[in-house]
């Protein structure tokens, strides 16, 4: 009987989807910021890009990951997030036609960088069978807070990235993701980010649409 155990059961997996070349750094920044914030809270963390996505194609959907765990991470070199707790779409159109909910854990939170309301995105939020896993869909218009999208190839090739972490939309998206999911505290994120104002604004201005049983706004409020 081959052994079967659950490894890293308490680890929070954050998967950030983005567009190659034009927005890849922003996704990496979101992952880096959330991991750095988690580390300052005494957690074990990792942040890295997916290697298989071939992100040096402009516009292709690609992913970065952050992991935050109360115990040392055992799946350190198992390089794809298998079970997502937080799914971030750094560009709004990713909600249409990408399989971001594959492998989502129950109670997962989806955060989208969009000026639209979460309700307006519902028509593309799919697949329907996976919606019962969703705890909330949140939107943040990070483009209006970022200092502009930063284009860089560096991190993709594995070299160190000297451009400021979160200088673009990354900071606001990270703030929104933290507020919507509770994966890290605001203070930790503010300490880790360069653009603290954007983090605060992301935290304050994220619009969260709660889900229950796969339906938006269907949660019974306690009387």
């Amino acid at each position: 009987m081959t052994l079967s155990v659950e490894v890293d059961p308490n680890m929070v997996e954050i998967t950030v989807w983005t567009r190659g070349v034009t927005l890849a750094k922003e996704a990496r920044d979101v992952a880096t910021l959330l991991a750095a914030a988690g580390a300052s809270e005494g957690k074990y963390t990792q942040s890295f890009d997916n290697y298989v996505d071939l992100p040096d194609r402009i516009g292709v959907a690609c992913k970065s990951y952050a992991r935050i765990s109360p115990e040392p991470i055992q799946t350190f070199y198992e390089y794809e997030n298998g079970h997502h707790d937080v799914i971030v779409l750094a560009e709004e159109t990713l909600i249409k036609g990408q399989r971001y909910l594959d492998g989502a854990k129950p109670e997962c939170v989806v955060v989208v960088n969009s000026a639209r309301e979460p309700e307006a995105l519902l028509r593309w939020f799919e697949p329907a069978e996976s919606l019962p896993l969703v705890k909330a869909l949140a939107c943040i218009d990070a483009n209006s807070f970022g200092a502009g999208v930063t284009l860089t190839f560096d991190g993709t090739e594995g070299a160190s990235d000297d451009t400021k972490i979160g200088a673009g939309v990354g900071a606001a998206v990270a703030g929104a993701a933290a507020k919507a999911s509770g994966c890290v505290k605001l203070e930790s994120l503010l300490a880790a980010a360069d653009n603290k104002k954007a983090v605060q604004e992301g935290w304050d201005q994220v619009r969260v649409l709660p889900f229950c049983d796969g339906k938006p706004n269907a949660c019974e409020t306690p009387s």
Partner: protein
Amino acid sequence: MTTKKRSTGLTAVCDAWQLVDIDVTASFPIRPYTAVMAEVAKRIANGQMKCEMVHAEGEHGQFSIAHGASMAGARATTGSSGVGLTYAAEVYSPIAGGRCPIQAVVGDRTLDPPGDFGSEHTDCLTMRDNGWIFGWAQDAQEALDNSLMYFRIGEDPDIMLPQIVAMDGYFVTHITQDYEVPDQDLVDRFLPPFKPKFRLDVNNPVIMGPQITPEMGPPLEWDRNVVMQRAKGKIVEVTEEFGRLFGRHYAPFVEEYMTEGAEMVFLLQGAHAVTCKSAVKYLREAGYPVGMLRLRWLRPFPDEALQAIASKFKVIGVIDTNTSYGAAGGGGVLLVETRAAISETPDKPIVQGFTSGLGGEVISHDEFFRMAEMMRKTLEAGQLVQSSTWVNFNDYV
């Protein structure tokens, strides 16, 4: 003062190169090595490093440039991945036989066909017979430390051999990790400046690599054999010195993990050993008498170090993240080398091979658990059940 840093294994090697103040580096892009090229270029541009960076027209040129620079007395470096390494194939023996101690950093990559950036050790291993010394790092810290140790070993006047600092592409080259960059002072004490006895110099002309007659061949090659064996002692000496100076103590050749009371052990090299150690912990808790051996050097292959411990175990499961089509035993390179190293050891264990992690695939905890189950079957049978198992293709559990 050590600096704590969170970055990738390739950046760690650049940190080492910066500390040892390399003179020349030859570059040519190929993923995952490209990060080194980008990183060194950036450091030269912002004044952190002062070496010459020569951009070659291909990897064959890259290694030749580093060779030439070393012949002129420079501390030269280069690096590559995958088919880049095989493109430079012609030059490896001249560099090693010429006793030019250049350092190449390798982020492993699967050989074509077709195109695959993922890690596999085959690229380096196909070049293993040329006389270079090399081994794999399991994480960014070891990549940095290996770079420092390899300079020290390779440039030692008693050795003078080129080295490859190898690491798994993506796993170690791209996944950011915490590591420490040692103090410049300590590095200066550990590694003296490079002052080779012979170098190309118009004031003292020498000829390097002349034509010879056949009868000069054997003695020259005997010298190369002697130095490769002598390197084993030097490796032990330098690894111990490194531990005393920098506080990180590595087993010179074979890292043992939970081998106390183990009847069966995994034997592997590189990044997957990190996941293996975690899997071994779970397996032990579940009652499997298993441990792990991690090889830190492939050349010179540590015969004596393995022979000294082999008979403690009943089964060794060698994990090859490489291919050697048609090799004896039907597995990869480590299987052949391990079996050969202990073939005459009294009470030697059964050695079976696993091929896993090809193409840059992860070796998951589940796969280690399955390999352990297969090793347990071998243990129970008291003999080989299957010489070589390609995990997920011809598993027998």
